[in-house]
Symmetry: C2
Subunit: 190 residues, 2 copies
Amino acid sequence: MYEALFRHIEKFITLESSEIDTLESCLNLSTIKKKEHLLKEGQVCTTMYFVVKGCMRQYIINTKGCEQTLQFAIEDWWITDQLSYHNHIPSHFYIQAVENSEIIAMDKSVLEALLIEIPKLERYFRIVSQKAFGAMQMRIKFLFTMSAEERYHHFNDHFPEFVQRVPQYMIASYLDFSAEFMSKIRAGKV
Amino acid sequence: MYEALFRHIEKFITLESSEIDTLESCLNLSTIKKKEHLLKEGQVCTTMYFVVKGCMRQYIINTKGCEQTLQFAIEDWWITDQLSYHNHIPSHFYIQAVENSEIIAMDKSVLEALLIEIPKLERYFRIVSQKAFGAMQMRIKFLFTMSAEERYHHFNDHFPEFVQRVPQYMIASYLDFSAEFMSKIRAGKV
DNA sequence: CGGTCTCTTGACGGAGTTCAAAGCTAGTGG
DNA sequence: CCACTAGCTTTGAACTCCGTCAAGAGACCG
């Protein structure tokens, strides 16, 4: 269903029905299985992904060889490696499905053409990325000011349903502490 | 000089001279002294700031009562609290001049009108904020994967001139370690 | 010069990591 | 529908990186 994307876009701008048709003709829904990758380290990222259903994550492999989740994207979020996408350089990141998911993939060439045909979409992406940037600013604040335990409780309070959906070790690394420590927090042994 | 902003904008889009005139009529250069604030915690942030000359920083006061720098902005960077700006809610942050600086302040009402009059500017801000978001993604990666010492050396290697300009305790908190620890890293006593 | 920022040093403590092993759980195929 | 396996979570002990505190030494500015 492209509906999800249309509804999201129309939170920020209003599209003519002809524009919706144009947009629709460029879209491309795909199903992606849990653990499948959309991007791997070293590849140039040339696509933006919109999550219609399910959950994606961006992660890296750290110096100890462990996966470390840097970002999640659930329904109505975009995910991509912005740096690789804009500068056409190899990515530092992996993007992978956490659950069986449905996504809309927008290739850079398609998206660039679309932005020229429907300039209003510039506004949509401008607002969406400014808001995402704002969320990142808050994320840094939380990482800097809260202890591991506080970060866990804060996340748990704000996204209780999400904590159910996603393996704990991914959440632990997203909150920047070890899976073992998370386990101890949950058991109240801290 | 508005030149700095025009030159930055024209890296991403091309403006007609009439558009430059329109834009210029909305701009507003101001001089701001070291330590002066553009935003304080609790205020609603209704302005975006472009740094023409000098350096600004975004910081918070943490639970121990210490200032913690979350972000710097030097020449050709924008700085604002995106969340407060977009959602019209009180800010969690302070924005302050690190040096005597010259900035262009764009008030939300002015900017919104300008974006309607010159829709091309949507594209400029879209690209700028996507790139800023990309930089944040890398920043999170560095924070997650490097030790304090590695973060210091990495920062020092990439922005040696910047390390000269800014007090060490600000850089220490930006890299998320204490000023004392930074001092020990520099002395090679780690 | 005098006072306020800023940087340095060392001793001590604690939050969170690492490692290893065992206990669960859920998905898969027989 | 059960058995098996791989992936996930839990536990505890030892360790370490880095913070905190306190005090002193510079450095910069009015």
